[in-house]
Each structure stands twice: as structure tokens, then as C-alpha cells.
């Protein structure tokens, strides 16, 4: 053991173990901390689809959408099978499954403990959180485009052939889906546990919705703090002034608040 530290340029009293005093000390690479965001985003996108769980979610989602579309065409009333009507049913399974993909993206680092690798390759955890949220939304957009294409195809082949999707409704569907995906990421970050987060996303809004209907005094609050209710006019493309305010409060309570708390947890939690 040597306590001679004169040969190092760093001022430290730490005793030296191993290595010759003459060996040259490599210096750290110059550059900004961490890795460029584009690479983090690319890695996060890939991680969403390269596992069997991720693959199955996509298969289930596509299968459900196909079955629902087919059932709608076969048994539904013929005049409802317009482009907008078809797209509405095709996006139903997306609104259910995409948040779960968001949850899985957020929780995998902790439930599978891959965070030990992810957070050592990019120690700035906030960037990982942003990349996960963006990757989930990008992925949802791709799936939505596929749903639009499928709906258009069905509309031409078996539907009424009516193109009745308003710009407001189209924008509403995109925005609503993005919010649901973000909600999934937020709940995933909040609980950092896949089953608990999935149950919470599926059950909590329903429990809250029932509570507001049963308890009279909560009725008014429920209109402002119920994400499922405030997105109804959004999907329909019929947003009025008050609807936007209610959407804002609903999103703040069910998306932004859990997102903020969840991000704080991830930034400060010990990775084990």
C-alpha cells in the first residue's frame, strides 16, 4: 500500500491501491455530460417493442381492433359504418392498450431492474423520463395511423364510403390518445410497479366516476376531475369553452399530477 499521491494531478488524500506510479492516467473524454437525446429516444423506442410482452400487446391491440371493426361491419347498423364511426370503434382498443404500453415503458427499468444499466449509460434520469414519454407517444401515433388506414380500407370495402371525419374530431382523437398514453406513463412512474399501475389506471378513474355519481355533492367536482368524461366531447370534436377548462383540470389531476410526482420519484430514488 502506498500513500504517495504526489504523482497525481488531483489533490486527494485517498490511499492508492494497485497500479504503478509511473503509469499514465487517462483523462476523461471532453464533452457535455450524458449522451445525446436522440440516441436515448431511439433506445427507448426500441425497448418498447423488442420484448415478448411488448410484441404481444401490439398483437392483442391489432387483433382487437380488427375484430371490433369486423363485428361492427357485420352486426352494426349499416348507416353507422362511416369513416368517423369506424375510426371511433377502431380507436377503442387503442385507448385501452396504449396506456398499458406507456406503463410498461415506465416501470420496466424498476420491475426488471434494467435501470441499473439504463441509468448508468445516461445518469441524467430526467432525460430518460422525457424519452420514455416521447417514445410512448410516437409509438401511439404510428398505431393510430395504422388504425386510420384500416378504418379507411374498411370504409371503402364494406362501409358506407362516407368521409365524415371533421378536422376537430381528428385532432380530438389524436390529443385524447396522447393524453391517455401520457397518463399510462405517469401512473407507471408514480407506482414503478406494472400490475399496480395497470390496475390503478383501469380502476381508479372508474371508482372516482361512480363515487361522483353516487355522492351528490361530488357531482359538480366530478365534471371537472373526470378524465373519461372530459374526453367525450374531445373524441367527438365538439369542444366548447367550458369543455376546454374541464379538460385542463381533468388532465392536471389525472396526468400532470401523477407525472410530476412520478418524475420526482424516479429522479431521487436509489437504483438497486
Amino acid at each position: 500500500m502506498s500513500t504517495d499521491t504526489d504523482t497525481t494531478d488531483t489533490t486527494t488524500s485517498a490511499p492508492v491501491v494497485g497500479g504503478g506510479a509511473a503509469s499514465t492516467v487517462p483523462t476523461a473524454l471532453a464533452g457535455r455530460p450524458g449522451v445525446p437525446f436522440g440516441r436515448t429516444l431511439q433506445a427507448e423506442l426500441r425497448k418498447m417493442v423488442d420484448t415478448r410482452a411488448g410484441l404481444w400487446m401490439i398483437i392483442v391491440m391489432t387483433g382487437l381492433a380488427a375484430i371490433i371493426l369486423a363485428a361492427f361491419v357485420i352486426w352494426g347498423s349499416a348507416e353507422d359504418a362511416t369513416f368517423n364511426g369506424l375510426l371511433e370503434v377502431a380507436t377503442l382498443p387503442l385507448a385501452m392498450v396504449l396506456p398499458i404500453l406507456g406503463i410498461m415503458a415506465a416501470t420496466a427499468e424498476w420491475s426488471q431492474r434494467t435501470g441499473l444499466v439504463t441509468f448508468t449509460l445516461e445518469p441524467r434520469r430526467g432525460r430518460i423520463v422525457v424519452a420514455k414519454a416521447l417514445a410512448s407517444m410516437l409509438f401511439a401515433l404510428v398505431v393510430l395511423v395504422a388504425a386510420v388506414a384500416a378504418s379507411a380500407l374498411v370504409n371503402v370495402v364494406a362501409g358506407t364510403g362516407t368521409w365524415d371525419l371533421s378536422a376537430a374530431a381528428a385532432g380530438g382523437i389524436v390529443l385524447a390518445l396522447m393524453l391517455y398514453v401520457l397518463q399510462g406513463v405517469a401512473f407507471g412512474l408514480l407506482f414503478l410497479n406494472t400490475p399496480i399501475a395497470i390496475v390503478a389506471v383501469l380502476v381508479l378513474p372508474s371508482v372516482w366516476g361512480i363515487a361522483t355519481q353516487l355522492v351528490g355533492s361530488l357531482e359538480e367536482i366530478g365534471q371537472w376531475l373526470n378524465l373519461d368524461r372530459v374526453t367525450v366531447p374531445l373524441f367527438a370534436g365538439e369542444m366548447a369553452g367550458k369543455d376546454w377548462a374541464q379538460l385542463a383540470t381533468g388532465v392536471a389531476a389525472w396526468v400532470l399530477l401523477p407525472l410530476a410526482i412520478g418524475t420526482y420519484r424516479v429522479l431521487n430514488r436509489e437504483v438497486k
Binding site: 504503478g20 476523461a28 455530460p33 440516441r39 435501470g115 449509460l121 445518469p123 436509489e270
Partner: protein, 298 residues
């Protein structure tokens, strides 16, 4: 180069890592040795920015981990070989890391070959990997960015004897190329094979540090005489701690001290040499047991 200065981690009243300081210089393979729960993993997580330190700091190549530019290119880290998504193939695990680190797909194949994972094994899901294969995959991931420094937690765990010798060769070549290696282990015989220098830790504190050979020679003095019972009594009378072994005595004193007592009392010595008959293992147990009992001893 890894520099650890007064690094401390407390969880409430419990001190997991207690004011440890050491510096690992390039060209060395240093074993971080201690029993389970000694604070090795906590210390390594603090070095890599995964666990915030209560006080003190750790730097790698002169910077704290979070300041490092593209850390994957500078430090290869493996903190738990089992912490991999079971649904990914070994190759896919490396490809995801390669995107983040910014190295090519051919580099993935290179490190797979380097750690001896075959094409077929790399295409298997990690779920179906043995612990030894996971260790190789973890080391491949650590080497991916061609770093200067390796920080490996229990890398030899789960490897068979040939695997441990293979790892020694791999890490030795890495260090000979100017690399710095810090690896932890709770098994002394593992670390004896793989590492050249040791930092021993018990109850969160460093109990011994130095080259393996230096630490090995610290085991006291071995003495054998025509009348060991009488010699043991004489040494005890002189307040020198004595332990009886099968073939003589181990004395916690310099050979000179033992020789003088023997000469004064006219005991015929048959053997007198520095170094105890006890292995590094017993010394390791003794050192860590001492801190376990007294807490403050170091």
C-alpha cells in the same frame, strides 16, 4: 482511475458505508472484498451515481459519474448480472445499449466473441441463460464502449473454475492495456485468482488494503520447535498472542521477537518464518469478524 474520498452512506441510524477512501490506479485489477452486507454494492452504486452519497465523493477519471460525457464510453459498469429483461435476447440487450453508447452493431458481435457467447447463445432469451452466461453478457455490455475503467459487482459469481480463470485473463489484459478494474467479491478464493490488489471492507469500513502478496505475508510468524508446549507458555508469559496449529505455533509477532525469546530460554527451533500458516481466507474472516464484533475496530 477511480478515486473514492471519505465516501459515506447512512440509512437512518444504519451506516452502510462508513468513510471509505481509496484510489485505484490504471494498470491494476483491484478486488473489493468483504462479506455479504459489508457495503460493497452500496459503495459501487455511489461510484456510478445510482445512489446519492450521504457525504464524501467518488470520481472516475477525475470527474463525478454524472459529469461524465457518454459514460458508457469511459466506464464499463456491471452491478448485477441478473438485472436484465428476461424477454430480450442477449444480442438485443447489447444492441439497445449500443444505440445509447453510440457504437456499431459490429462492436456488439465483437464483445460477444470476446466473452465467449456463441451465435446461438446470443440469440437466446436471457430468461434461458445460466448465471454464468448472464455474467458473460454483463461483462460484454460493460466492454461495449471500449472504456478505460471497469466497475464490476460480483462478476465471478456463478462462473465455474475455468470461467474464473478466463475472467482473470480478460481483466489482466484489460489492465495491461492501461485499464483500471475494480471488482467486488464476497469469496476470497475468487478474488485471489482474479485480482492483484485488495481492498477489504467489513461493516462499511475498510479493514485492510494493499497488494495481495503484501496482505498474504501479514499473517504473523510461524514457529516450530522441539518443545512447542514450553515455547507457547514462554511466549504467552511475554504477552505475545500464540495460536497452536497442527505442525507448530502461529505467533502474532515479528520472527525476531520469537527468536530472541527462544534463544534466551534455550529452546531449539526447527522452523521460524514470517507468514502464518493460515490462508488469506482466515485473515479475511478474522478481519471482518473483528469489525463485526467491535464495530469501530479498523
Amino acid at each position: 482511475m477511480i478515486t473514492v474520498e471519505n465516501l459515506t452512506k447512512r440509512y437512518g441510524a444504519f451506516t452502510a458505508v462508513d468513510d471509505i477512501s481509496f484510489q485505484v490506479r490504471p494498470g491494476s485489477v483491484v478486488g473489493f472484498l468483504g462479506p455479504n452486507g459489508a457495503g460493497k454494492s452500496t459503495a459501487m452504486r455511489m461510484m456510478t451515481g445510482l445512489t446519492p452519497a450521504t457525504s464524501g465523493r467518488a470520481t472516475i477519471l477525475g470527474q463525478t459519474y454524472r459529469e461524465l460525457h457518454n459514460p458508457g464510453r469511459q466506464v464499463g459498469v456491471m452491478l448485477d448480472a441478473s438485472a436484465q429483461h428476461p424477454g430480450r435476447t442477449g444480442r438485443e440487450v447489447l444492441r439497445v445499449s449500443a444505440i445509447s453508447v453510440g457504437v456499431s452493431r459490429s462492436r456488439v458481435e465483437e464483445v460477444l466473441a470476446l466473452v465467449g457467447l456463441t451465435d446461438e447463445e446470443a440469440g437466446r432469451r436471457v430468461r434461458n441463460y445460466s448465471l454464468g452466461m448472464r455474467q458473460r453478457l454483463g461483462i460484454a455490455a460493460a466492454l461495449l464502449g471500449d472504456p478505460h475503467v471497469l466497475i464490476l459487482d460480483e462478476p465471478a459469481n456463478g462462473l465455474d473454475p475455468q470461467g474464473i480463470h478466463w475472467m482473470r485473463g480478460l481483466l489482466r489484459r484489460f489492465a495491461d492495456g492501461g485499464g483500471t478494474v475494480l471488482l467486488s467479491s464476497h469469496l476470497l478464493h475468487e478474488v485471489q485468482i482474479v485480482a492483484d490488489d485488495l481492498v477489504m471492507i467489513g461493516r462499511g469500513r475498510i479493514v485492510a488494503m494493499g497488494s495481495k502478496d503484501e496482505l498474504l505475508s501479514r499473517g504473523g510468524t510461524t514457529v516450530h520447535s522441539t518443545d512447542d508446549i514450553r515455547l507457547a507458555g514462554l511466549l504467552e508469559k511475554a504477552d505475545v498472542p500464540v495460536t497452536r496449529t497442527g505442525s507448530g505455533l502461529v505467533v502474532d509477532a515479528e520472527p525476531g521477537v520469537v527468536g530472541e525469546i527462544a534463544a534466551a530460554e534455550r529452546v531449539v527451533l526447527l522452523e521460524l518464518r514470517s507468514g502464518g500458516s493460515e490462508g488469506l481466507e482466515e485473515m479475511f474472516l478474522g478481519l471482518t469478524a473483528a469489525t463485526s464484533r467491535e464495530g469501530d475496530a479498523a
